[in-house]
Symmetry: D2
Subunit: 303 residues, 4 copies
């Protein structure tokens, strides 16, 4: 089922998410507390943006567990970023553990990661593929459900004329966080409609995060009437410095709100609050977090 | 472009192909001599049958190079088999190196491996997928050309009612080596016709081997009018013992011809001969090797 | 702390230990039940003997978890052996996860694996190394405690003139199971004496198994007066066929007792019994299992 | 034998060494031109300093080849640094390929990497270890020659009271580039003297680079009277921007000389010049490169 953590705000080191907090993402890779199975050891992935250096994010994927990876621990201390996505994977039994299947998935300037699974995926995969543009058809390099959800998201980006690489200076802004949320919502709706028509009634669990490096949209969502969606929390404040160590390298334009969203709370900080079920968090560094409810088909219920 | 080696005959240790010969497959992983690029370091795979123990073959895949793999060297000495397929990979630049992409590919009791590439593959992939049964559609776990050729081969197996697991005692024989060759030929023809209709004229190089554990079909084939297909050699004799060490563990019913087919000759033995271009080798332990010419669409020209 | 399983008896497939039983070793890699931490995901290793083919055992090591390894699952079904050692590792925090550190460790015809740790290891390592012959000095390829215990065991083998490769036909028998147990006991005593002299009082936990392919010695031992040693069980009977499927490939000389020793019981079979604390199991296929008590320095208290 | 590349100067992206130049280090991983064997596929390692963020360097090690590593390609574009060390490895045959053996090796704020080998290493290893402080004794995590050379270098650092982490703000400067060169030279001398006394006359090839993040010392050295040392080149100029793309993120205090040292020239730039045989390059960002000859025992011949 996986665990993930993301950050948007003034630059922080990766280690402030991955290793320093008492319930860091690395700890969640072997001792997750809010799912029945505590283990997320089927590889990991980190994506981060360095907007002053390059418009596309870096992607560091490994098929070995996060908890024993020395390179991860070392890199996390030395790399800082204003927008980070990190994921530890628990592969569906029988599913592959290849680099191609590691989250977050990248396309141009976009990243996507997922905690959950798509109901009846094997039954809808062929039809899902049929709906894609040729460009999006080539996005999945493996055969897992999230790769295909990502292909639908990319398809939405392409069909709506969004810039492929919104971090480039000469790129238009891409519509901001709300536009990103709408594209993710549309992708979810497409997948759910296929499941309704061709699936066998299996529920979907879709905690999904997307980013363009400046904005983030992340939802806590499921289609099961009996169960809650997977856990998801938001921490939002002036600064995020869990180890109490002031970040050394901040510039005037780095000010602004810091937002952390995580499958499980990283720290004992009392400001963490649960993201409401069936809703989308819409995050922009220069505005307060916005919560938009979703209907049973994943559509945003915008006021 | 890759290199491969296969064996059919009385049981031999894997090491007689992989490590003992002076120009063993492991040596070909870094010092191949009959292709312009000597390097085949993008992972490897070994498939072998143990018909008295289990009807499906074992598959040992690694994404690291063959030459520095201690487990490979160790296992090769201790494991013996009457039917072996081994492959060292040179990934097409930009192509993935995942476990899912390692040859040989397995389905039930069948194995397939490939040296070469499918012309215009990116242009025909969607159409190729459209032609598959649902069962064969789920065969590729990655996005490389050989995985898709294998899916077409499996599709042929299914559509022609071949047994999925011909090694099982209660299984019908599956038609023998010639039937296997016809299925491989039909798969190649389907792929080439798609290329003719929708491709951009890029040539295909298709040295492809398939086996059901009792029989082998392997072709040396290309569609380029200017170039020869990749190299391929056959060694055929009463016994195969390259290190001159008599195999300790042979039983009465293990007698029969020994056949080795390899991208490059493993030894200085003068009996190695080149497989003719554009032809299919049809191998059965209880009959001499048969060579069947192929027409430009990969069809067998049976006398 | 790790989990391990070993087998001595008429040939069985590896899968009868690794994957088929309800509480197989692969299951123990993520859901161990008799240690506080259920996770053993820092790589694995399998060693097996094929005495009719080669005198040294095969060693298959991987640094990725056992539970998602397709090659392991595939090989386990197809490979059979009369003597098997299998280990899933939980690295001491901060310890390396390299192929060089994977159990079982091999030297000539011997294998050793360990569940536990050596107390005060960092404090005694230099002195331990000083006691080794040059040959044994070169045995450890990494820096973990078990590699050094294995070096001491190899040192005992060498100093006592035991054959390096007891599985070779021209090799003398090597003294049998009791001699193997004495060498393991002597190695343990050397390590514990170093700890007594130069350590800081930290306890040692030494569930250790060694084999020469024909015999096995395995102890359940610790030096902690307050705690029990790690769990260890023996199953002993005419045959071992956990899945109720008769092994197809047994010959007249394959008869004899079947013995499984495992950190946790693999099945619900009522014949499993706990190995007594502070004792050595001495196993020979042609004799009933013998249990020899050990004194606090690891010495055998032979009647 | 390996290939390596290092950089000291105003921050550049890792990709300007690793992937962008026509003869980048990644290209040298499979097509090295100045050694008889073009292949350096036994893993790789990158170390880089981010002095404004953390005093210790990041270390990214992999046991898979550099040429097919997507994470390496991605990270290289997005990470910039004023001091970079990168290494592609060709393991001595029979040597291990573990993460523990990957260059560069790190200790506190120091890095070391090596192209070549230590003559008679197996014969001197025990004696070498005996000369180490306890702290340095624990430095090698594997058993390769370079790990032990690094341990001697660390031993020199410790015995001479050099700061362990010279990048820390509260750290004394550590004596600068010349001091670093003296410590490397002293380590080499110790190793060579052991070889003279206890070795079998095998030559040593010691192209070795060390850094503390601010300074670099790197030598081109061997002890073979018949052969030249391994190739080594220096490029030195106002800026290093091989792809002609101005680095976007430079600050006033980033100015200064740019220096690249590489086993093979990365580009066709006419300013590359060979480092003289048997000499040490001493590099400081705020001074021109200095070349100091070495005597046959590796001692610096300071004017």
């Amino acid at each position: 089922m996986c665990r993930f953590t993301l950050y948007l705000g003034p630059p922080v080191r990766l280690s402030t998410l991955l290793t320093e907090p008492e319930h860091s993402l690395i700890r969640q890779s072997y001792h997750a507390e809010e799912r029945s199975e505590p283990l997320n050891g089927d590889g990991f992935g980190i994506g981060w943006y360095a907007p002053r250096l390059w418009s596309e994010p870096a992607l560091f994927h490994q098929i070995t567990p996060a908890w024993n990876n020395r390179s991860l621990q070392s890199i996390a201390k030395v790399v800082a970023s204003p927008c980070i996505m990190a994921h530890v994977r628990a592969a569906t039994p029988g599913s592959d553990v290849n680099l191609a299947n590691c989250h977050p998935f990248g396309y141009g300037g976009y990243l996507l990661m997922h905690n959950g699974h798509i109901g009846s995926f094997r039954k809808i995969r062929r039809r899902l593929i049929d709906t894609l543009t040729d460009e999006a058809f080539n996005v999945p390099r493996g055969s897992t459900d999230t790769e295909h959800l990502f292909a639908v998201f990319v398809d939405e980006i392409i069909r709506n004329g969004c810039p492929v690489d919104p971090g480039r200076e000469d790129s238009s802004d891409g519509g901001g966080a709300m536009e990103l949320a709408r594209r993710l919502s549309a992708a979810i709706e497409r997948v759910l409609r296929l499941g309704e028509e061709h699936g066998d009634g299996e529920s979907s669990f879709l905690n999904v995060a997307v980013s363009d490096g400046k904005h983030v949209a992340v939802c806590r969502f499921d289609t099961d009437p009996q169960e809650s969606p997977e856990s998801l929390y938001l921490l939002h404040g002036e600064m995020y410095e869990p180890a109490g160590r002031r970040f050394p390298e901040r510039r005037p334009d780095d000010e602004g709100e810091a937002m952390v969203v995580s499958s499980e709370r990283l720290t004992g900080d009392l400001r963490w609050r649960a993201v409401p079920a069936e809703s989308m968090l819409v995050l922009d560094r220069h505005a307060p977090p916005r919560i938009v409810p979703m209907d049973p088909l994943g559509r945003l219920i915008e006021a």
